[in-house]
């Protein structure tokens, strides 16, 4: 089969995407597929048209590849592709939208407020900050609405720290979230073809948060998979993740990140195109389920070509 691997692009997660892409290409090669590696740029449509692949493996992260843009193009070109469809990608990419959708579906997610830059510049939203800080409490989390890999995520311990955190978050996106901080265990549930894989727990090294660097550096964060969960915890976590997957309209695969608080799981976000690097969570979860990376890649391709099978 001729498989086009879409990777790179202009997003800030270009580096991660190139690593994911390279790993996928390698696996595809082993599986005997013909691989067309595409560092996504202005000539994407032209190259796809001239190569006419049987299927596209989307290994892009962040804006451009994970937000539905590339998927939209692939839909227009009539090329089957891996992972969720354009609309679901768009919902996953924008955390404000994600949270609206899942709360609408009755799933738990920490309280939040979302703001556009214009709200502050033109509508005096700054005057509303005090009130919402009071309702969310401190510390609170400030994050860009669209963006991945924890880039631009800041914790504000007091009102004085909020403006600076907002400035940082607004560097990545023109919409940001202020979210209630929930204390608990950091879990990631990867969903493959509508089924939950073993849960991964991230245990950052002493004092660290699970930030960008902790995520991609071998040895910085310890991952436990499967996470040690009681039966009821396991059930609650898995149901929350699968509910999120369905509510967002995902297909193929996705990864749901959540916090397991004392009173149950709180969903933080869903990743339409989870990382596939050496230190990424989806491959780790698959491995724990006895699925090798090659098998994972093959299964993802199958799901793209036979969506009904899921």
């Amino acid at each position: 089969m001729k498989v086009a691997v879409l990777k790179g692009g202009r997003s800030l997660e270009r580096g991660v995407s190139l690593r994911s892409g390279a790993r996928v290409e390698d696996a595809l090669g082993r599986l005997g597929h013909e691989v067309l590696a595409l560092d996504v740029g202005a000539d994407l449509v032209e190259r796809l048209n001239s190569a006419s692949p049987d299927v596209a493996f989307v290994a892009m992260h962040g804006v451009g590849g994970e937000d539905g843009t590339a998927q939209e193009l692939l839909e227009i070109l009539g090329i089957a592709f891996t992972g969720p469809a354009a609309a679901a990608c768009a919902r996953c990419m924008d955390k404000a939208q994600t949270k609206h959708t899942i709360r609408g579906a009755g799933l738990p997610t920490p309280d939040w407020f979302a703001f556009n830059e214009t709200a502050f510049r033109e509508l005096g939203a700054a005057d509303a900050l005090g009130g919402l800080e009071q309702s969310l409490g401190f510390p609170l989390v400030v994050k860009p609405s669209r963006g991945g890999s924890s880039l631009g995520v800041r914790f504000a311990a007091s009102a004085a720290e909020v403006p600076q955190a907002l400035i940082s978050a607004f560097s990545y996106d023109d919409r940001v979230l202020l979210e209630r901080f929930v204390e608990g265990r950091e879990l990631a549930v990867s969903v493959l073809g509508g089924e939950a894989l073993p849960v991964v727990e991230a245990l950052p090294a002493k004092g660290d948060r699970y930030d960008f660097e902790a995520r991609y550096e071998i040895g910085r964060t310890r991952f436990v998979c499967p996470a040690e969960l009681s039966e009821s915890e396991q059930l609650a976590v898995t149901e929350a993740a699968l509910g999120t997957y369905r509510a967002l309209g995902c297909s193929g695969f996705a990864r749901v990140d959540l916090i397991l608080a004392e009173d149950g799981p709180q969903i933080l976000e869903a990743n339409a195109i989870p990382g596939l690097t050496d230190t990424s969570l989806l491959p780790q979860a698959a491995e724990a389920a006895g699925i090798s990376f090659e098998q994972l890649v093959e299964q993802i391709l199958d799901l793209a070509l036979n969506p009904a099978a899921a």
Binding site: R10, R14, I167, A169, Y172, E213, I218, D278
Partner: protein, 455 residues
Amino acid sequence: MSEVPPPPHRRRAHTSTRDLERYAGLFAERTTVMRSSAMRDLMAVTARPEVISLAGGLPDTSTFPPQSFAAQMTRIAQNSAAEALQYGPTEGFEETKDCIVEVMGAEGMLVDPHDVIVTTGGQQAIDLVSKTLVDPGDVVICEAPTYPGAVPVFCSYQADVIQVECDEDGMRIDKLEELLGQLAGEGKRPKFIYTVPSFQNPAGVTMSLPRRQRLVELARLHELLVVEDNPYGLLRYGGEPLPPLYQLDGGDFVVYIGTFSKILSPGIRLGWAVAPPPVMEKIVLGKQAADLCTSTLTQYFVREYFAEGRWRQYIEDLVELYRSRRDVMLEALHEHFPAAATWTEPDGGLFIWATLPEYIDTGDLLAKALRADVAFVPGQAAYIDERGRNSMRLNFSGVNGAEIREGIRRIGKVIAEQVELYQALTGEQPAAPRQVAAPDGADVLPFRKTGEGRG
């Protein structure tokens, strides 16, 4: 020529989680302090052709005449092919050392060639000096900010790195004295003091003569080594040349590091260290273990290049080019950066260091700048702690004047947006431009206020 098929190669099996854990268990303790960074990942984006990168530290090698390059290589092939392809002495060829003595002489230094070792770039010299002198936990003192490439070297030998703040006249020697006193009280003796005294990377500042004299005095008094890294000394665009520390000290307590990277080519990977004989002996052993000898071929290249006798002229050409680029950048900064920003006005070298209002994190700003297709180095890279978060390093040697102007305009625009947003968030009026010297204990390099001329 027919196309050569790629050689057969092995496809390594995928690294499994178990492998990662297994390898992680084998890693040396020191690798835990070797950090990759989010910034390095963001830098993957700067490679896009549409990005104007003021992030590099690259000299402009396009100015080197290809004919001259071809002629030198031809002469090497005709006259010394076998020797140029052979191993060489660990210390380097005598002829290379003659070139080095000549370069150092151009800055007023008198050197015994026996004290010189040719290294694979100045970077290896930093590594070898650290390897020779640093045990885990030893104190190494450097400037704040310091050359970002030196930090990982010190860390890989598990040094306890302490940074001493700089101002417009380079490292604050009064602060250094305080620190030395404090360390002595704790029974600690720093292994060396690392400094880039002229046109510092990243700050662009130059250590004043009185401070140079005092630093050398202190080294003598406390019998400490000073490691003087001087890659840019000959790239002076204004002001009077100052004597290198090596010259002031005579080479007893100063280990000198030089390089051909900025005056000829970084691609030839040729640098050097000059050290007192007992230190040199150990450095040579370290070099032997590291890579036996520096590339013979590029040493021949340098020899041929110097034999042509035009190296001084080439540096003069570079000086003229970089001076004009520096001026363009300063002008553009003045035009496009907000009043609350400050920056250094270097007399030489490759870099300007700009500092923004405290609420702007330049690591995050880089993400915004990259969307505007421009890049710089966030200041945090030059610190081992959390300092420098609101500063940035700007390079003016690697791109042409038009790009510098446009690059600075774009950065200025994203900063202005953040400043405006902050004002909207806090209701604060635009901050008054910061006046010169920061109070004692200030943790960032204090700067001349915007636009104020250099006396």
